[in-house]
């Protein structure tokens, strides 16, 4: 009777494919009931984007590059946000997800301050939607109230729905294989037009992303592959691998500025 699945979810972001189009950003907002980013929220520097595109400049005109970096919660294996929560509202679950339990959260914001990647968002205001727009809200995701910290969940509601759908369809208990059928993806991965985002199970041999994690763990530090994790030097052990941007032509590297 035990449903025990040894999953460890992870993501791979190919920086060579990301065009910075923001398709993932809007898809995430629609899926996860993010508050409407009003002009005021931008002015207050409190806009919500569980996944965001950071743009960095490199070089000077005319040899200038804009580098795009999609950043979402890295679901760190050794997450700085977890030990500081006084009420266990954020914890690491058995599938490698960094989970935020909204009804436990009391809004101390310790986790936000401790997050290396600045991917946690605090509801300073009660999020509001005009009455008719509320029809769009996703019933699978809690609407967060004021005073609660929220963040990317790797669309855990889609993972859960997929588990149940697979169970129902197969008329059997889940096993590793059925969940690897890629019958679900987080909204951002599903939206990405260039397939720059890939999602899967780090532990599953057959999964597309497995190789990247394997390689990273085997040749820590001096790998020939493009994979690296952002700010991993800090020791956060993130579950998101970034693949290096390929520069076709060498550019005179000047001081980068943003």
């Amino acid at each position: 009777m035990v449903i025990k699945i040894e999953h460890k979810w992870g993501m791979v972001v190919d920086l060579d494919k990301c065009t910075g189009c923001n398709g993932c950003v809007v898809a995430c907002q629609a899926e996860n009931n993010l508050p409407i980013n009003t002009k005021d929220l931008f002015m207050q520097k409190r806009a919500f984007e569980w996944i965001r595109i950071e743009r960095y400049w490199e070089g000077e005109f005319p040899n200038v590059k804009a580098r795009y970096l999609p950043v979402m919660c890295q679901h760190c294996g050794n997450a700085p946000c977890e030990p500081v929560c006084p009420v266990y509202a954020t914890y690491h679950n058995d599938q490698g997800l960094n989970v935020q339990v909204y009804n436990r959260c009391v809004g101390t914001r310790y986790c936000i301050n401790n997050c290396t990647y600045q991917v946690r968002f605090f509801n300073f205001w009660e999020p509001t939607w005009p009455e008719r727009l509320q029809n769009q809200l996703n019933p699978d995701v809690t609407v967060r109230t004021r005073g609660i910290t929220e963040k990317c969940t790797f669309c855990v509601q889609r993972i859960r729905r997929a588990e149940i759908t697979v169970e129902r369809r197969e008329r059997t208990k889940l096993n590793d294989k059925t969940m690897a059928a890629r019958n679900f993806m987080p909204a951002c991965v599903q939206a990405c037009p260039t397939n720059a985002l890939m999602f899967g199970d780090q532990n599953n041999q057959e999964d597309k992303i497995h190789g990247y994690f394997e390689e990273l763990h085997n040749h820590e530090g001096h790998s020939d592959s493009r994979g690296y994790r952002i700010l991993e030097e800090i020791g956060t052990d993130p579950s998101v691998i970034y693949l290096k941007k390929v520069d076709q032509f060498k550019m005179e590297h000047s001081e980068s500025h943003g």
Binding site: D16, K17, V26, F61, A191, E215, F249
Partner: protein, 764 residues
């Protein structure tokens, strides 16, 4: 938790799903009874329906998640040929359009003077009676303005307007007529070709922001993803020539800045190198292309001659001169096969735009890429005779003709169909004044109030694409015959009374007894007829042993396509180069301002059509990360010289007018270019579109001067020069950059957030 969500269904209506369900019987879905129990209600039954997205001009295939009669999420339809499951930043916007608080719910009739903004809500029968009466009184003097339309809604609109003796103008602010004409002249057909970027080794693009807004961006982003498949050693190379640092430029391996209007010369210079150095493949008939003249046909286009005329800096990526750069690009382009050359946007928006685009597309013939996998693939005619595979893009010149006709009382009644031409054309066109005449009866079909229907006599609320039938021949298709089908997946909410605009036109035609060329009772009826025709073809992606079964499967798949029904290369290359070089001209520029003005389509607002939608406004621009405001892109060194800092409100003045916007200082902007996005500067509309401070929002089209493109009469919107002045005030810029940045944490050597590598430095 006290959630307003708890209360939001009190007014909710009967949510019947008029569609065929994926796995539930049809009759079981007809009527569902909503209850005032949000958890139960919003959960309810869940279904995914295939339909076509109506937010972008190129309708992508989408699937929409519907829970208990309410649409929740839009995703790409994985099987649809053009987008293959992908979506852009604009796909989800349809949801907010559907449930927008400011959507017009019932027919509105003008009460009082025109432009007073006072409208009365009336019933449909009264509205249609009045419109019918006006139609018969003004028979023979009726015109319509719509965006480019395809499928049966276009057929119905055309036949309707024809029956009342008028003309339908398909209007876009930044029209594609020049592009279409160039395609026709170079490839010999009206239907746009498919660029098979996914299989290409080299892409050379000019001016077209094809990864963000140009023509069919999602389709090409899918191809771009395959193009950059670095892990399988097939990383294509991309060079982008553009007057501004667009999203496409930022993703190219090499960006070549160029003065607007010089793109054609550069393309012909590349052609010169290819012929001079014999880089073309053996099956390319150079003597035919040049009428036997060989290199002489391009005399004067040697890189050494052209290099200094382009406005391109000398030091692009290590090259020492522009002529060296041209030779490098030409050699790369010819040696990486298959290669694609494509152009549009600013490249086709100077007075010599047609010459530029023809020169660019010519390059495909020179390297033998036409009709080849990984090259330019020509699309076939659609499988249904009644439907065209292309739209008749009209231009501002057609609007100007219409204005004359209205003034001369040749047109006394105007239908404006989901378009906002007053906002979408420069002030000097005079459209606004002419619409403000009491002699003209204007009927607007749309969902929101805007600058155009401000002058309406009657506003008829349209259905959202999720509530209406429709179909589409994707333009361009993916190289084979495709017919997309749109079905109603939700019913309008009970407090909304929109009607399908095609059905309204059919009703009006029937009421006036002019339905002889409109044999359908409704759009659905027309689509069923189309389904039967496709069924008779007995090929393609949809199975079904009976017509009913075929129809059900057609809706389930979201369309019909046949991968074996491909197009053929029909281009006549005889003397093509000679035909192009005779058109060669320098661009004419208006005024002698300090900067070129380069307007561009906003990543999420496009030409302003999505301005009412909060998500569209709140999505940061990829390059600047600005949202909600009009920003002015200016080079950092130039800004330093002029004492302009980010956030300063600056005035941009052309010969036509002046606008104000917020400076965004960019290290990537060419020093001689000012670029401004379209989409803001709305004056009439919902608060999301209009509620701005002075200086935050402006319509760049108003400072575009009246220059026309030779040969197509399109608006040359990249032929204006401007001067700027700092107004001395500054505003907070609403940008996302700096809100949350991972790099703030620590940025030391070896800990770069974005690491780079060279091709071949990695193996995987």
């Amino acid at each position: 938790m006290k959630l307003t969500r708890r209360n939001f269904l009190a007014w909710a209506g009967i949510s019947a799903m008029g569609a065929v369900a994926c796995d539930v019987f049809e009759d079981e879905l007809r009527v569902q009874s909503p209850v005032a129990l949000p958890e139960d209600l919003v959960k309810g039954k869940e279904n995914w329906y295939a339909t076509l997205c109506g937010t972008c001009p190129n309708s992508e295939g989408v699937v929409v998640r519907v829970v208990e009669g309410r649409a929740k999420k839009v995703q790409g339809n994985p099987n649809y040929p053009t987008n293959l499951g992908a979506q852009s930043a604009r796909c989800d916007l349809g949801l907010q359009q559907l449930y927008h608080p400011d959507r017009i719910s019932a027919p509105l009739r003008l009460n009082g003077e025109k432009a007073s903004g006072r409208f009365d809500s009336i019933t449909w029968s009264r509205a249609l009676d009045e419109v019918s009466k006006e139609l018969s009184a003004r028979d023979g003097a009726v015109a319509m303005i719509s965006p480019p339309m395809r499928g049966y809604s276009a057929v119905i609109a055309d036949e309707f307007i024809k029956a009342f003796g008028g003309k339908r103008i398909e209007f876009e602010s930044l029209d594609l007529k020049t592009y279409r004409t160039a395609i026709k002249n170079v490839f010999g057909q009206d239907i746009q070709p498919h660029y098979d970027i996914g299989h290409a080794q080299y892409v050379l693009s000019f001016g077209a922001d094809f990864l963000s807004t140009w023509v069919s961006p999602t389709q090409w982003e899918v191809g771009y993803g395959e193009f950059r498949d670095s892990d399988h050693s097939k990383r294509g190379i991309m060079t982008h020539v553009d007057s501004r640092f667009s999203v496409t430029a930022s993703n190219a391996d090499r960006w070549i800045p160029i003065a607007p209007g010089q793109e054609g010369k550069l393309a012909l210079s590349i052609a010169y190198v290819i012929i001079e150095e014999g880089l073309y493949p053996s099956n390319v008939d150079i003597s035919s292309l040049t009428s036997g003249q060989g290199l002489n046909a391009l005399a004067g286009y040697s890189p050494e001659n052209i290099g200094s005329q382009l406005g391109t800096p000398d030091n692009v990526l290590g090259s020492h001169s522009v002529s060296e750069l041209i030779r490098t690009v030409a050699r790369e382009f010819a040696s990486h096969s298959p290669a694609i050359a494509l152009g549009g946007g600013t490249a086709g928006a100077s007075t010599n735009g047609l010459f530029n685009l023809e020169s660019i597309y010519l390059l495909n013939h020179l390297v033998g890429s036409v009709g080849k996998e990984g090259g330019v693939i020509l699309n076939p005619e659609p499988p249904i005779k009644e439907l065209k595979g292309y739209s008749n893009s009209h231009t501002l010149t057609d609007i100007e003709e219409l204005i004359k006709d209205i003034k001369a009382s040749k047109i006394k009644m105007l239908f404006v169909y989901n378009a906002n031409p007053v906002y979408g054309s420069p002030d000097w066109s005079g459209l606004e004044q002419v619409l403000n005449s009491d002699d003209l009866y204007m009927v607007n079909i749309g969902s929101f109030v805007n600058e155009t229907n401000h002058y309406a006599d009657m506003i008829l609320p349209d259905r959202n694409y999720m509530e209406d039938w429709g179909n589409d021949i994707p333009e361009p298709s993916a190289g084979y015959q495709t017919v997309g089908v749109q079905q109603p997946i939700v019913n309008p909410l009970s407090d909304m009374d929109p009607r399908s605009s095609s059905d309204v036109l059919l009703t009006l035609a029937q009421d006036s007894g002019k339905d002889s060329s409109l044999p359908w009772r409704s759009l659905e009826d027309a689509l069923k007829g189309m389904s039967d025709e496709l069924f008779e073809l007995n090929r393609g992606s949809v199975s079904g042993t009976t017509k009913q079964e075929f129809w059900t499967n057609l809706l389930r798949q979201g369309g019909w396509w046949d991968k074996s029904a491909t197009g053929a290369d029909v281009s006549d290359i005889n003397g093509l180069i000679n035909k192009i070089t005779v058109k060669s001209k320098d661009p004419k520029l208006s005024g002698n301002g300090e900067f070129y003005l380069v307007p561009f389509l906003h990543n999420s607002l496009l030409d302003g059509r999505n301005g009412d939608i909060p998500w569209a406004q709140g999505t940061p621009d990829p390059i600047t990360s600005v949202a909600w405001q009009t920003w002015i892109e200016i080079n950092d060194k130039v800004a330093d010289d002029k004492g302009i800092r980010e956030g300063d409100v600056i005035e941009i003045r052309s010969g036509a007018e002046a606008i104000k916007g917020i400076a965004f200082v960019s290290p990537a902007q060419p020093p001689d270019v000012i670029s401004i996005p379209l989409g803001q500067g709305r004056t009439v509309g919902s608060a999301y579109a209009t509620d701005r401070l002075d200086g935050e929002s402006a319509n760049v089209l108003n400072i575009v001067e009246n220059n026309k493109i030779e040969g197509t009469d399109g608006l040359a919107w990249a032929a204006t020069t401007v001067n700027i002045t700092n107004t001395g005030t500054s505003l907070r810029i609403a940008k996302f950059e700096g809100d949350y940045e991972s790099r703030e944490v620590g940025f030391t050597e070896g800990e770069e957030l974005i690491k780079t590598t060279s091709p071949g430095d990695h193996d995987h």
